[in-house]
Symmetry: C2
DNA sequence: AAATATAGTTTACATTCGTAAACGTAAAAA
DNA sequence: TTTTTACGTTTACGAATGTAAACTATATTT
């Protein structure tokens, strides 16, 4: 099976810019990140290069200031990361963790409605209790 | 300000065991993790030592097989991690991310009720829309 | 065309992490 | 009490990450 590349925290910041803009030149990324962080331009260049090596980013070679395009969708990457983190949590505590998240995140009315709907649907088949499996061998 | 230590993925697995048991000897941790992973005993020992250095774990020196105790609460650590991840996501997409999470996690009836309640409360003051701030300088 | 500025690539280096062997010391067995 | 076993500590080493300087090639200005 193919090696699954992961994005580091710093690399993620670069992707955010490019995802938001749809595509971007290194100059754009650098300008924005120099405001958000105290990284120097060469640092950001390194991140862009690593993202290309990891196949998260592709440069449009053609005209000279290259234009970089994402090779993965933001939603997919978010999904991946968030799920990856939750996989490592104690099952019993995921509900609480989600509750924390809701409390500390800004969420739009539309999203809230959707979440309630998802939960309501989920309630129809949800177990009374979720058992902790932290000591059990992972069924792989 | 004091250096904020972070737990690596592998270290987290060790903590899970100890959190669940309340306290544990290295032998217990090793036995369980040898079933869950293919780490060798010395690898697990290293993780325990690093966790002590990082002040996540403390050994009860007194009787000889040391008994290790967590120095941070599981809920706090989860909170920390989950929030840390969400801080790096595009605001606009947090709702969606939480929705994904709900769909892919087992959650108990009780927790679902609680979540709906939190959301309902939140709806009272939630904005119509959340703006993306991925290109803005972090206000720090 | 030469000089300069831009932007992409290579190299660098310390730290953390995954992974574990080797080593030393205390406890248990012979 | 000597031997063995269990367990804690030190050392090791490559890969990934944060961080960036130096170098090179292309584009722009003079």
């Amino acid at each position: 099976m193919a090696e699954v590349e992961t994005m580091s925290k710093a690399e993620w910041q670069v992707m955010r810019i490019i995802w938001t803009l749809g595509q971007a030149t290194s100059k754009q990324v650098i300008e924005i990140l120099e405001k958000k962080t105290d990284w120097k331009a060469p640092t950001i260049k390194t991140l862009i290069i690593r993202l290309q090596k990891k196949n998260f980013l592709k440069a449009d070679i053609g005209t000279r200031p290259y234009v970089y395009h994402p090779l993965v969708a933001e939603d997919d990457a978010i999904h991946q990361n968030v799920n990856d983190l939750f996989d490592s949590l104690c099952c019993m505590r995921k509900g609480m963790a989600i509750n924390d998240l809701i409390e500390s995140s800004e969420i739009s009315q539309t999203d809230i409605t959707k979440l309630i709907e998802t939960l309501t649907k989920k309630a129809r088949t949800a177990p009374e209790m979720v058992e902790c499996n932290c000591l059990e061998a992972d069924l792989k």
